[in-house]
């Protein structure tokens, strides 16, 4: 197991290295780093000082080393707009985004799993057909459009829920979160629903396909032959088998959701790092952009690593293979 995790860790570092190289090439070789890191308002002396500090007068490989050193020590420049270190700015906004992402994930699982299990268990029923039709919408409607409709219906027309900003936050177990207050939860509902829509459809379809496929397997019949009730067969035997692909997909989707939070945050004025990056792009606040990209890439790699490890924990066959190989 340790060997396995170590090997995956190595792979992650390789990907991280490649990504840092890509960001570097993007920023330094394709873009103009002077423009990226030095505020347009800076005067000539300041510019030259900054160029020297950033090592922009050195050859490209040396610049890359500087860049890496900066990245490793957490120094990714200062935001032009907020005049605080870009990384710090990102870290301030990170919790709100994570909260939104996690809430969306929970929501899509809480609705997608039961819907998928039901649709797989009773494929011919009318409710199942409604579920499947709904999931097609979840796939093809653009996320921002769904967000607009949610606002139009639930905020503008019905006036049930707030549509902008994060509500009051409180602390639960030392974590500052919207889940602690009523207003926080109210503000969270629409954005989370919006962000979960695509995933909900995906999880529903995946679960349904898994249930249908597994119900035909011999092990299900055999479990029934032992006298187990349908409930145990479904929720222990079948569920544990479909859990493997679902965990994988949830893991992969975690990254997708994190990225698509950009859209949701913009629509619902959610003060997370997605909104920050869009604002930064519009304002050409480039240090923030670079910091954001690196943070997101690292989060991605961590998520992928966790998924791989989880996958091996869930599937004894993979675990064994990897221990051998």
């Amino acid at each position: 197991m340790t060997v396995f995790i170590l090997r995956r860790l190595m792979q992650s570092f390789v990907v991280l290295f490649i990504m840092s190289l890509l960001v570097f090439v993007g920023v330094y070789a394709i873009g103009d780093p002077v423009e990226i890191f030095i505020s347009p308002e800076a005067d000539q002396i300041e510019r030259e000082r900054a160029i020297a500090a950033l090592g922009l007068d050195k050859p490209l490989w040396a610049q890359y080393v500087y860049f890496l050193q900066g990245a490793l020590s957490g120094d990714l420049g200062r935001s032009f707009r907020f005049s605080i270190p870009a990384l710090e700015l990102i870290m301030q906004r990170l919790p709100a985004t994570l909260e939104l992402t996690v809430a969306a994930m929970i929501l899509s699982l809480a609705i997608g799993l039961p819907a998928g299990i039901y649709a797989g268990f009773r494929p011919e029923s009318r409710l199942s057909k409604v579920i499947m039709a709904g999931s097609i919408f979840g796939f093809s409607l653009p996320s921002f459009w769904v967000g607009l409709m949610l606002i139009l219906v639930f905020a503008v027309e019905l006036g049930w829920l707030p549509s902008t900003g994060r509500g009051e936050v409180g602390t639960i177990l030392g974590v500052t979160t919207s889940f602690a207050t009523v207003s926080g939860i109210q503000h969270l509902i629409l954005p989370a629903l919006n962000l979960s829509f695509f995933n909900m459809a995906l999880i529903t379809r995946l679960t349904r396909a898994g249930v249908r496929e597994n119900m035909l397997m011999d092990y299900v019949k055999y479990a029934r032959a032992k006298g187990l009730g349908m409930r145990r067969v479904m929720f222990v035997h079948v569920f544990k088998n479909i859990l493997i692909p679902i965990v994988t997909v949830v893991g992969i989707q975690m990254g997708q959701v994190l990225a698509f939070a950009v859209v949701t945050e913009q629509i619902f004025a959610w003060p997370g790092m997605g909104k920050l990056i869009i604002d930064s792009i519009s304002n050409l606040d480039r240090p923030v952009i670079v910091a954001y990209l690196l943070v997101v890439v690292i989060m991605f790699i961590v998520i992928n690593l966790v998924v791989d490890v989880l996958y091996s924990v869930l599937d004894p066959r993979v675990r064994l293979q990897d221990m051998k190989g």
Binding site: K221, K226, G227, L228, H237, K240
Partner: protein
């Protein structure tokens, strides 16, 4: 005279498929007494497994029991409510499935899959269930059962898995075990061992056993009674010695002729000409008639079930062996 543990009368199990009504089992009768072993033989597709599943109440849709009766310990199983049938499955009637590789759930520990079979029928403590699982593994000759309980199915060889399946069948000391070709996947030495152990167990515990196979030599060494099936129908039945020594149905005769034997060394093996017709396109009358050397005009009628001698049953107009006086 006490009632047999199981008596099946004129069982019909039909599958309503898109291409027509597939009569997988169409008129099968037999009985098994306490502590006795019935060999159910017939070539692939003759309906042996479906007969077993019918008794277990596990016929998959679009199949259904279209007629006949299954009496178990004096109780009619056809039409029994789901919950009552579930309570019998795995506790009073156990089944060992055909394919040992596919029947155990790959993602659950062997321990879980064993103890759940106990918990489904009895309220016992965790420790007690575990003890019984361990004992059952020991009983079928699995070394260091304590450790093996913690393992997953893929960590067992095919033969070991089949033993696990047998152990699970024994867990609740059932009155009837249906074993569906449990030894075909095994090599000859292990097969011999398992046959010997199973036979011993039946005699000791008084469990009735239905042994499904297409291997006549297994039946000869193991069973008390034999029931020969062809294309969904019982064609011949009687005590093993009787039927194998004096086969009356031409299909049984063919089967015996195609088994290599010491007594007939040097003689060519006889092949039954042709193949079993599709169950959807059976010829009218005796379904064996297109392959039978003795077929004549009479055979275009359906041969009725007769009892040419005490303890024998037959469906043939022209018995191959003279009826003993």
């Amino acid at each position: 005279m006490t009632e047999p543990t199981l008596s099946v009368t004129d069982l019909r199990t039909w599958f309503d498929t898109r291409v027509g009504m597939l009569k997988a089992v169409d008129g099968v009768s037999f009985a098994v007494d306490k502590g006795r072993i019935l060999g159910l033989v017939g070539e692939s597709g003759s309906g042996k497994s479906v007969t077993g599943f019918s008794i277990m109440g596990l016929v998959d849709p679009p199949g259904r029991i279209a007629g006949g009766s299954i009496r178990f310990n004096g109780r009619e199983l056809v039409g029994l409510p789901d919950e009552e049938m579930r309570a019998l499955r795995g506790s009073r009637i156990a089944m060992i499935f055909q394919d040992p590789m596919m029947t155990l759930n790959p993602v659950l520990r062997v321990e879980t899959q064993m103890t759940e079979a106990i918990f489904a029928h009895e309220k016992v403590t965790e420790a007690e269930a575990k003890r019984r699982a361990r004992d059952a593994l020991g009983q079928v000759g699995i070394p260091s059962p304590e450790e093996r309980l913690k393992a997953y199915p893929h960590q067992f060889s095919g033969g070991m898995r089949q033993r696990v399946a047998i152990a699970i069948a024994l867990l609740n000391k059932p009155d009837l075990i249906i074993a569906d070709e449990p030894t075909t996947a095994l090599d000859v030495t292990i097969q011999g061992q398992i046959l010997y152990e199973v036979q011993k167990l039946c005699r000791q515990t008084g469990t009735a056993l239905i042994w499904i196979t297409h291997d006549l030599s297994v039946v000869a060494s193991l069973a008390d009674e034999i029931c020969v099936m062809y294309a969904g129908r019982m064609v011949e039945q009687g005590s093993v010695d009787d039927v194998l020594d004096r086969p009356m149905h031409h299909y049984t005769l063919g089967l015996i002729g195609s088994v290599p034997s010491r007594h007939r060394k040097g003689q060519p093996l006889v092949q039954i000409p042709g193949v079993m017709p599709s169950l959807l396109k059976l010829p009218g009358g005796c379904s064996f008639r297109l392959r039978c050397t003795r077929a004549d005009a009479a055979c275009t009628e359906e041969p009725p079930e007769t009892s040419p001698a005490p303890g024998r049953k037959l469906r043939c107009f022209h018995p191959a062996t003279a009826v003993p006086a």
